[in-house]
């Protein structure tokens, strides 16, 4: 009888969605295989068929309760094309951008403080009962309060632009359904200095963590990869709302650049594997073995030429200096990159609040009807693609969604295996703390598994360990 084991972490916690990790150990307790399985079933691409085009941005945002705005806006951008609008009225585009910056800010703050801070503050191997937001608040009430108030600020920006903090209706095909009144603008302006200060403090925490644990961080779930995101047309600056697609290889050389995202399907292919509901995209020319890539905050830092807001740009340069301007492949540096984007979002929010176009009344444009539309946006977790076809009756006939977590599928699996090998191989006794190291690597990508597979319900992630006979020998499933 074999002595090999298979470990299952199930559910993995402090991520959005439901998945599990399986780790196969051989006779010597060395990691043979480690995989992140997404066990939810996706259905949106099918049941959106037949619905009316203007319903789509409202329906598909129900994919997620954390970043519904990303789906709302990506779908709206696709529907802009279908109603024949390539250029939105300034008020509409700026209101959408304001909504998006509020969204990215609140999502990043949620991830950093509520989901990852317990690991960073207390240690990856700290007791499970310690690793939660309540302990963060207990030990550092000021930090906890800021986390709540920063998220509240972002959520209220969303409410002011979409009507509700979650699942609003702001973006409509060809435009937006509201502008920003002066009183609301002034309420936000009164808070924006404080938010800038707090964002810089959060950036300092993330940066200091990486620099203060550089040896560990550089070895933790780190592996070279390609990186992909939208960048601003022309100068390649970071642009979270709109732009052209850029992918760079592990050394920073361009794979494709300034690609019209309407041609995404010419460069990206989605691979399917039998053990996960989540697809594995790769760059067509490089093939599945070398063509996989990462998206998200760190990928954006690696692809963007610069950032067009001064504080975030300075932070971007500091991050780039760590790797001599070459791509940073350090999984945990995602936290640093994420906080740079929080600073950027607050700076962009300030800029927009001073823009009188937000009080404009030209909210919607019209054009000549088309029958296919693609919307791409940089969601908090990375690049997000919505692709639709609509018939002459205004009904959706085709939908394809590639969400950030799907783009990162291969990268997360590599991180899981990397960390499992580092921390579990050769260990006779697998502790919960060891397994949390695996979860820490997954969390760095801030995956949204429900977005990636579009399911409903309570969705914790689990880790399971199996022996070579495929018998479950251990399971780590923390629920909180």
């Amino acid at each position: 009888m074999s002595e090999t084991r298979l470990i299952e972490i199930s559910p993995v916690t402090r991520v959005e969605g439901h998945g599990k990790v399986t780790i196969h150990l051989d006779e010597n307790n060395n990691v043979d295989e480690a995989r992140l399985h997404i066990v939810e079933f996706r259905g949106f691409e099918r049941f959106i068929r037949g619905r009316l085009l203007w319903e789509v941005p409202v329906i598909v945002q129900r994919l997620c309760g954390i970043c519904p705005v990303s789906h709302h806006l990506a779908a709206a951008k696709a529907m802009d094309q279908i109603v024949g609008v390539d250029v939105l009225p300034p008020t509409a585009e700026k209101m959408r951008r304001l909504m998006h910056y509020g969204q990215v800010m609140q999502s990043h703050v949620l991830h950093f403080f509520h989901l990852s801070a317990p690991d960073l503050l207390f240690g990856f191997g700290a007791p499970a009962e310690k690793r939660n937001i309540f302990e963060v608040i207990r030990e550092n009430p000021e930090l906890g309060l800021r986390a709540v108030l920063m998220r509240k600020f972002g959520q209220e920006i969303i409410e002011a632009t979409a009507g509700k903090k979650i699942h609003g209706t702001g973006a409509i095909p060809g435009g937006i359904n509201r502008n920003l009144d002066i009183a609301t603008r002034d309420r936000f302006l009164a808070q924006v200095d404080q938010m800038t200060g707090w964002a810089l403090d959060a950036l300092g925490i993330a940066r200091d963590y990486v620099l203060g644990h550089l040896e560990m961080v550089e070895g933790f779930g780190t592996f070279p990869s390609n990186h992909m995101s939208l960048v601003r047309e022309g100068d390649g600056a970071l642009d979270l709302y709109h732009g052209r697609m850029r992918a760079v290889d592990r050394g920073g050389a361009p794979i494709f650049d300034m690609l019209d995202y309407n041609d995404y399907h010419k460069v990206l292919v989605e691979d399917v594997r039998s053990w996960s509901y989540m697809k594995f995209p790769f760059i067509r020319d490089l093939g599945p073995e070398y063509g996989w890539y990462r998206v998200g905050p760190l990928a954006r830092m690696n692809t963007a030429s610069h950032i067009d807001t001064p504080l975030a740009n300075a932070a971007h340069r500091e991050l780039q200096a760590l790797t001599g301007g070459r791509p940073n492949h350090t999984t945990l540096a995602n936290h640093w990159a994420r906080m740079i984007e929080v600073v950027h979002c607050v700076e962009k929010i300030r800029e927009l609040l001073h823009d009188p176009d937000l009080q404009g009344t030209d909210l919607r444009a019209e054009g000549e009807r088309r029958y296919e539309g693609i919307g791409v946006i940089e969601a908090p977790r990375g690049n997000l693609i919505h692709h639709y076809k609509v018939d002459e009756r205004d009904q959706v006939t085709y939908c394809n969604l590639i969400v950030s977590t799907t783009h990162n599928n291969e990268g997360m699996n590599r991180a899981v295996k990397n960390v499992a090998v580092q921390h579990l191989s050769g260990q006779a006794l697998i502790t919960e703390g060891m397994l949390n190291h695996v979860e820490v690597a997954i969390r760095a990508y801030d995956p949204c598994l429900s977005c990636a597979t579009h399911a409903l319900g309570q969705m914790p992630l689990q880790i399971e360990i199996y022996d070579a006979e495929h018998r479950l020998v251990d399971r780590a499933g923390q629920c909180m």
């Binding site: 009316l52 329906i59 702001g170 509201r178 009756r393």
Partner: protein, 238 residues
């Protein structure tokens, strides 16, 4: 009908009515709201949905069709009446596919608003019938999602009585009765977006959809963002 005005009572409040007025008409004029779904201003009364059922001298009657009478004692806004209304509304939610979070009528929907008014917080007591009716988007300006239809018949009366067209009618019997169009689909009728039957005020739910208008009214400016259904009537008393 002519004659002397008279007084009757709704929940102990004296209400003046003219001969020929229904209980609901007199109540509306007096600023007393009686919940209703199939009745709407400008169309003949039907008494179909039964949400307006009141007790009149101990008898259950539909307030939209029952004439007011001198000295009548009407029981309207009581826990017992509202419980029955809530049951009726809840059953409507079970009969159709009323997915308020993604429906463009949300915030302007009388069914949704009635559920809020009657404090229907869940609809879990009965099995969902989950109808699977194909969305009719054949018309260039109008779409029909009859999965949301509550068979109030307002579109039928509007089309027949106001538009003089008869675009809509009932088909089937009993639980199978539903609203259908007088043609293979809506494109094969003489429906026009300018018809009264297609106006936003006629369909109480999100069944009749005027194309390309969905979600243009922002949250906060929708009709029922400003108050419970019936608040305009009740404000007459305040």
């Amino acid at each position: 009908m002519t004659g002397e005005s008279f007084v009757f009572h709704i929940d102990g409040v004296a209400v003046t009515a003219k001969p020929g007025q229904t209980i609901m008409e007199a109540a509306d004029a007096a600023g007393i709201y009686i919940p209703r779904l199939c009745d709407v201003e400008g169309l003949r009364h039907q008494g179909g949905c039964r949400v307006c059922t009141v007790k009149a001298d101990g008898r259950s009657v539909s307030a939209c069709t029952q004439p007011a009478a001198p000295d009548l004692k009407v029981e309207n806004d009581t826990p017992a009446r509202n419980r029955v209304r809530r049951d009726l509304v809840e059953m409507l939610f079970h009969e159709g596919n009323h997915l308020c979070p993604i429906c463009e009528k949300s915030g302007n929907c009388e069914l949704q608003a009635m559920a809020y008014r009657l404090e229907m917080t869940v609809a879990t007591r009965f099995p969902y019938l989950e109808p699977c009716r194909e969305l009719d988007a054949s018309h260039p300006d109008i779409a029909l999602d009859t999965n949301r239809c509550i068979s109030c018949g307002r579109c039928i009366r509007a089309s027949q009585d106001v538009d003089g067209k008869g675009v809509f009618g009932y088909v089937g019997r009993g639980i199978h009765r539903r609203v259908a169009v007088n043609g293979a689909d809506l494109a094969h009728t003489d429906a026009a977006v300018t018809d009264h039957a297609m106006s936003a005020a006629v369909c109480p739910v999100g069944c009749i959809i005027r194309k390309d208008e969905g979600f243009r009214v922002p949250i906060g400016s929708r009709h029922f963002d400003h108050g419970l259904i019936g608040h305009e009537i009740e404000e007459k008393r305040e």
